[in-house]
Chain length 387, copies 2
Amino acid sequence: MDSKIKGITTPPNRDELSNRLEKVRNMMKDENLDYYVSFDPVNIYYLTNFANNVHERPFILIIEREGIPKMVVPLLEKSHVESRTLCELDFYSYYEFPAPIGENWYDIYQPLIDNDKKVGIEAALPSGIADKTPGNKVITDIIDEIRIIKTNYEVGRSVHACKIINRGHKELLKMCKPRLHEFALYQKITGSMTSKIITDIPEANFIVCKTVAAVWPPSFSHDPHIIPKIFAEMEEGGPHVSIVTAQVDGYGVEIERTFFLGYVPEKAKKPFEVMFQARELAYSMLKPGTIMSEIDKKVRKFITEEGYGDYIIHRTGHGLGITGHEAPYLAEGYDRPLEPNMLISVEPGIYIPGLGGFRHSDSVLITNEGYVKLTKAPEQLDDVIIV
Amino acid sequence: MDSKIKGITTPPNRDELSNRLEKVRNMMKDENLDYYVSFDPVNIYYLTNFANNVHERPFILIIEREGIPKMVVPLLEKSHVESRTLCELDFYSYYEFPAPIGENWYDIYQPLIDNDKKVGIEAALPSGIADKTPGNKVITDIIDEIRIIKTNYEVGRSVHACKIINRGHKELLKMCKPRLHEFALYQKITGSMTSKIITDIPEANFIVCKTVAAVWPPSFSHDPHIIPKIFAEMEEGGPHVSIVTAQVDGYGVEIERTFFLGYVPEKAKKPFEVMFQARELAYSMLKPGTIMSEIDKKVRKFITEEGYGDYIIHRTGHGLGITGHEAPYLAEGYDRPLEPNMLISVEPGIYIPGLGGFRHSDSVLITNEGYVKLTKAPEQLDDVIIV
């Protein structure tokens, strides 16, 4: 695989979805489960192509060791589910939420599971639904586990999604100047990316399309998870940190850059350099077999030795897929090896109150040989000074 | 109270939030709970003004019978939480997700709850978090329950939110014409409402701002929860059904209308009339004391007697508040009385495949005297024909 992996914009075909289901069933067998119950809309989307916004009317997918999976759906949504589902499903619809006695969702749901069987449930399953689930329940995130290794189809979708954000990020850097409002930038770049998404995928499902484009200027770039105020302004100098992310008809990716408007303040040069080298260090370890926690440990050790240990506030990276944050994690405590077809962000950061934040992030595919960066934007200090 | 209730655009003050917490504690006392654990971002927002997008790093609020509530937050988000919280909270931050042994979120969380005490948890609490929660757990939706009756402050926020959607909906009807694309309409009206939101509330928190503007043309208006394709087109005639909703800096409301472009097909006249009368019937019962299930039963009975019983696919209405769908429900099986300061949608519907959908929806406040419609748009058949 090289950086010329082809983007894919078409929906998953039946084989793709059957293969995913097959993997779930293999794990069910390994864990000796008779049923697996999925409620997490992300997991249901992964297996069926049906996306829902969670609300008070539950949608529940029930997978047995064989046969057609069953899905409990509100009557009101039956045709919606049918219109988006791209695999075989047997539907069991319920009257409404709430409903008269005997016609509630759980009246339809409970008879579908034998009470003396072993039932796998998601850690995300709401307690109220777990409580009404029959059987001997065990929490096990089988579908989340399978999602960690991307299929070639998924890789193609992510490659396409990265093209959208690469383009958006390029436009963003071009328009940035001191005193530009956060909101102007957000409107223009998200609008532009959205237009590109619907041009490329006119049938895109908007429940799973989302675009974000923002810049943290130096006055608060040390605080990467704060939500910028709408009328925050770009400033002279830096470090500014951009965030451009998209979920493109289901596939989530990100690109982020530390950049400067006009000039680089003297005090920002060393932390930029340390962040840059920490990142290089992380990339040098990106290949199948490397234990992910080791990457995070070494990155933290390096940054600490350079004198910025107190300014680390997050892990080195996280998985990407049909969400923008998921397993696997480049994090201490996550002692698993990298494998081909994992898709991760690489983003060691340094955050110094009073000076600002330093972080580049890319969406990166692990390959047999090492890795391929799917996102592209200037990286070196000289290239991130916008004049 | 009359229809001149003043809109409010300012954040909740300390007293507002203390009073909400006080109500939670009174219910905890009634239910003999030592702790209440809240994870649902909606409930946390209600009590603290901090809004978060749920991701793999949990935020957990722990309320005891007295003292300052405690909140478990990821280190990375500590200052974000502090910057938005408008009540007193004691923060307990954890290293990262995942984390080295002994520094995970549950290592910080578990010591905060005594193992031999009674702990209330939400039905929405993920099983994986419930599983790590100490104490004798009981599922009880205390905060959801309190949210059912709006404070005067909340009413003022909702009144303001309704002004935004009234304006958006008026614009939407004005621009509708045959062959107009769904996307053009969506872009223009959501853009316009968003501009108005940030003009009225420049400090709005965008995590809790959302706008939707769409029309279901007659070819699929019989299917109200399908997601329209981006390039779906408006048609001659009708019934079209509009949906304009917004969450305005935290407060969710809706307005929907059945309307026609150019002319009313003969076959659409009777179902429109029946929907209209069903709605009048519902409104005639809207006052404190009426049992909500009774409204739904009578509405269904009326529609059925008029020959459209097979075309009812949802309840008569639902609550609104900091979400767009919540308790209480005008639904069979929901046998509770209406009370002043409930905020609900009223929207009986008839959905006939091959002909289309018929539904008006308004956001309605229950008052001591009866009700006040907070949304406004044409209602009568003659007024919903756009030429």
